[in-house]
């Protein structure tokens, strides 16, 4: 079980709150889309879920572990082991190859990546032929697949995607969903934040972020 409990987030010394007493609970293996207008705090929420941001108030329970007291280094280690993140801009390192980008998370833990695993993931995502290509030479769709492969390399329990369809056409968006669904079928919890309602409708559950609070989308 994952739980955000009475989360507040303010960037201006508690004058205004992007997230305002937000509580959110989800189970392992869920496939969730969070929608909301621009500026509604979707990315802030995703960053809190990803442990990249700490809430101003409230706490985050991840599989019965309260993350509130963890230091930045402990959170980095936790993130590395348990969470995979796919960014809208993909955030690949341009001068590294696709393969080097995929194995990047493994260099910060004691687990060594093996070629078999990289090939397996690349095969599943259809990017095996791109492994030796520099990331900055890949197309948007290819970069996104590499970013997904990178998010998967450490076998995370939770994969978070920030506006993953932002730079994709409909075909690529459908393919992306298929990949995320495949991941979800393997037992990985998948949460995406998007403003693309059509894309969100493919997910099992849709939540809407409105006035700093999260509710089921009807």
């Amino acid at each position: 079980m994952y739980k955000l409990n009475n989360i507040y987030k303010s960037y201006d010394n508690d004058k205004t709150f992007v997230l305002n007493n937000l509580s959110f609970e989800f189970q392992k293996g869920e496939l969730i889309a969070i929608i909301g207008k621009s500026g509604s705090g979707k990315t802030t929420l995703l960053k809190i879920l990803a442990t990249l941001n700490k809430p101003t108030k409230g706490f985050y329970i991840f599989d019965e572990k309260n993350l509130e007291k963890l230091s930045n280094d402990e959170l980095a280690e936790f993130r590395n082991k348990h969470i995979g993140i796919v960014f809208q801009e993909y955030n690949l390192i341009g001068n590294l190859t696709a393969e080097e980008n995929i194995i990047l998370p493994t260099i910060f833990n004691k687990k060594q990546s093996n070629n078999y695993k990289v090939n397996e993931i690349a095969e599943a995502l259809g990017i095996k032929s791109l492994l030796n290509k520099k990331a900055n030479l890949l197309s948007g769709g290819e970069q996104q697949r590499v970013a997904i492969a990178r998010a998967m390399i450490n076998d995370p329990e939770l994969v978070l995607a920030d506006e993953p369809t932002g730079n994709l056409d409909n075909d690529n968006a459908n393919q992306l969903f298929a990949m995320l669904k495949k991941l979800n079928n393997l037992g990985v919890t998948v949460i995406t934040v998007t403003h693309n309602l059509e894309f969100a409708k493919m997910f099992d559950k849709i939540y809407e972020l409105k006035n700093g609070q999260l509710g089921l989308y009807k």
């Binding site: 990803a50 990249l52 930045n72 280094d73 980095a76 280690e77 993130r79 590395n80 082991k81 993140i85 960014f87 955030n91 690949l92 390192i93 001068n95 590294l96 080097e100 194995i103 990047l104 998370p105 260099i107 910060f108 833990n109 990178r150 450490n154």
Partner: protein, 370 residues
């Protein structure tokens, strides 16, 4: 891929700002290393004593009542001993000269702080009844029928001294201790303590023992607490000669320390600039699980590579400047620094920036990358 490989692929150009100051500091240190090595080489070549040679100058008159023949004791303790006693004289009521009593067969004069090797060109001896002396060649004109008068006493001239390698322009007369004691200065033959012995001014000694052992042995011979003050060694005269250069040798070291201190700020600023420049890169790595210790490690690896590059540049630039400066200095010849000193310098040039970087990285905060 490892953190090391990742660092190699992404060295920040901003960190190269530090290279300049490292190279200046490193070149100064290398320059001082070779310059001092060349000065040491030149000084050691000009010294009276070489390694393993010692001069002991004790006033043995102080020990005349002690029944020890010190000359014999020196011969027992050391591989090679030459005694010297000195007196001034007047040749033919006209020229001043220095009369030296010694072991003539050893062919070394210690005079006026210098050692002179010599050969004797033997003359024909006409009258064996007269005491025998040997003269420096500049007294040739004072010799008449192979006889010479010194301090009113007539001596038979056994030959002329030919100084090897160096020149000696003084009027020198050398003779055996026996003749010196009988004709020049009888006070060197003494039996106050009940034994017959010479009272020697100075000994030249060679020994395979190290300096401390030699000093201890001489102290033991004289039963004196510390003979260090009346024994000259290669190291002692070398150190005293080098003293005047020490000020000079300290300048580059001080400069290195100063530049290193300023380099700390330079490194600190360079690291912060490099982090600011690559905030997105570090931010991505942070989302993937990079801890501060990983970030520090990456920066230290990058700076280590820059340190090695600067060390190589420093060696070439420092050696080049030394070569030019030494060639322009009169009396100096270029000498290689000793291998341990060279490696010590190399380690300093490489390690100081790495240590400074390690300290600087302690100030990196998470908020700089997230």
């Amino acid at each position: 891929m490892t953190i090391f490989q990742l660092s190699l692929k992404n060295i920040s150009k901003k960190l190269f700002f530090s290279l300049f100051s490292f190279v200046i500091a490193g070149s100064a240190l290398v320059f001082s290393l070779f310059y001092i090595a060349s000065i040491e080489h030149s000084v050691s070549k000009s010294l009276a004593l070489s390694k393993g040679e010692y001069i002991s100058y004790v006033n043995e008159e102080r020990f005349s009542n002690i029944p020890v023949n010190y000359y014999e004791r020196f011969k027992e303790e050391f591989d090679y001993v030459i005694p010297y006693v000195y007196n001034t004289g007047i040749v033919s009521y006209d020229y001043d000269c220095m009369i030296i009593g010694t072991d003539i067969k050893k062919n070394i004069i210690y005079y006026n702080g210098n050692l002179y090797n010599y050969e004797i060109e033997l003359s024909e001896v006409y009258d064996t009844e007269k005491p025998l002396v040997y003269l420096s060649e500049n007294l040739k004109n004072s010799v008449n029928n192979n006889l010479i008068e010194i301090n009113g006493i007539e001596y038979q001239v056994g030959g002329f001294i030919k100084i090897l390698e160096k020149s000696l322009n003084e009027n020198i007369v050398i003779t055996t201790l026996d003749i010196y004691g009988q004709y020049v200065d009888m006070s060197i033959i003494n039996n106050d303590s009940g034994i017959y012995k010479y009272i020697i001014d100075t000994y030249y000694i060679t020994s395979n023992q190290n300096e401390d052992e030699v000093i201890n042995t001489i102290s033991m011979i004289y039963n004196a607490p510390d003979s260090r003050y009346f024994v000259d060694s290669y190291k002692k005269i070398f150190d005293s000669q080098m003293e005047e250069f020490m000020m000079f040798s300290n300048i580059p070291v001080t400069f290195f320390i100063l530049v290193s201190v300023f380099s700390f700020f330079n490194i600190y600023i360079s690291i912060n600039l490099s982090i600011a420049e690559r905030k997105k890169y570090y931010s991505i790595l942070s989302t993937l699980g990079m801890k501060l210790k990983h970030l520090r490690k990456m920066i230290i690896i990058e700076m280590s590579i820059i340190s090695v590059i600067s060390a190589i540049l420093s060696i070439f630039i420092g050696m080049f400047i030394s070569l030019i400066a030494i060639s322009a200095s009169k009396g100096l010849t270029f000498a290689m620094a000793s291998i341990p000193k060279f490696f010590l310098t190399l380690i300093a040039i490489i390690m100081v920036p790495i240590i400074l970087t390690t300290i600087s990285t302690r100030f990196i905060k998470y908020k700089q990358i997230i």
